[in-house]
Symmetry: C2
Subunit: 252 residues, 2 copies
């Protein structure tokens, strides 16, 4: 029986979503350890977004199979009983046997929060990048508009393989200012490795006046990671939501 | 020279505001260690609210003296440079030599957040009590109205000395429901030891139907801690603001 779960986690203590060898410090690893015991046999969990070390999720999705069918509300209750305090399963249901949380995803929404106020926010410190500098929002919005659309995003990825296409569509980048923070919300069909963090670092350098928005087209066309800005720290990044086509077995 | 600072802190890692012996695990102790080095001689910091172990502050105030006058913005910058990541000074100014952060305070606002949703909020887990049960808000509001006013709050304090009056004025208790949480906001002239947490525990027992709002007057008149409800856990409590009369040297 195939299952689809929605979950949220504070990624601070983890080395990311994806299991690496025997490391127990991954989100997928925590889930798989519990599910394997429930199932009485190895379970592999497929997450929609393979979030990096230190990256959070408000509403991640994942799919997996169990040999004998267990009531979804029991699966959810057991997971929440054994998961650590920084991971929570928010829903669980059965899915079509062809459904795959990552392969069926049509898009993702990520959010990056930058604290511009000089004084840090002690309650949000794990979920923000404390830049402590003012940003030129209108210049950042110009740059965000130039990043939006379908492009080869090689310049905005840590490592790309020549075998796979680096063409992605960024549908929108919304920039909101509130209470000493600047929030960047990205919606796209998919994102390359570190792409959201590199776009964020580049937008911040533009906001600080170290670069101009007009450089974006040449950075894109260079297809060279060296041309874009810094990689913003992981802690400010949160996977907000995974989008599925209406017809997929996914979605809440 | 006397100084007044405003500060916020995540109290999770601390054994409270007040220095106890040589313990370095207090908020006052962290401040005093840095200020004593700046001052070249012992500094005592007087906080307006002596928050308990695990209790947070959004906008606490504190006053202290330095032998040689130092520019307030330098005092703030030095404190923030040496304070740990869970304590932040948000403002610093000089004050009248008769000003005392606690003795001049006219009132305080505390907030208690209860998560009623069955699933925990991983991002707010340190700042909420995860009750995971529905609450009868209208019954709680009836009880809150009966608690409001000037009463002897002996029944709502962990330990009271017969030497000191237990009469306090609770100006308002606002109950707000939002996104799977219930927030209780208390404004009063002052609060006895554990008083906000015991009022919260009692209101929750009423909200869960274990008690009725109509019991409040007899609980108050009994002047007996045994008659009130449980002490709600520290982590859900935050000192929101300290109120000063218009004429005091305090206030932001």
């Amino acid at each position: 029986m195939r299952y689809l779960i929605h979950l949220s986690y504070d990624g601070t203590r983890y080395s990311g979503w994806q299991r690496q060898g025997n490391s127990d410090r991954t989100i997928a690893g925590k889930l798989e350890n519990i599910l394997t015991r429930m199932n009485g046999g190895e379970v592999t969990v497929h997450g929609a977004g393979r979030t990096d070390a230190g990256v959070h999720a408000l509403d991640q999705t994942a799919s997996f199979d169990l040999v004998k069918p267990i009531d979804p509300s029991d699966v959810m209750a057991t997971l929440n009983a054994y998961l650590p305090e920084d991971i929570a399963v928010t829903s669980c249901k059965t899915a079509d046997s062809r459904f795959h949380a990552r392969l069926n995803a049509a898009g993702k929404i990520y959010r990056y929060v930058i604290r511009t106020d000089e004084v840090k926010d002690v309650f949000q410190r794990r979920y923000q990048w404390h830049l402590g500098k003012r940003l030129d929002i209108s210049e950042m919005r110009l740059a965000a508009d130039l990043l939006t659309g379908t492009h080869d995003f090689t310049s905005f990825a840590t490592s790309t393989s020549s075998k796979h296409s680096a063409i992605r569509t960024v549908k929108r980048i919304d920039i909101r200012v509130k209470d000493g923070t600047v929030t960047l919300e990205y919606e796209g069909t998919g994102f390359l490795y570190n792409m959201v963090r590199i776009m964020t670092g580049t937008l911040c350098e533009i906001g600080m006046g170290q670069r101009s928005a007009s450089e974006i087209p040449e950075i894109i066309s260079a297809r060279d990671r060296e041309r874009a800005g810094m990689t913003a720290p992981a802690q400010g990044l949160t996977l907000v939501r995974v989008l599925y086509p209406e017809t997929a077995a996914g979605g809440k």
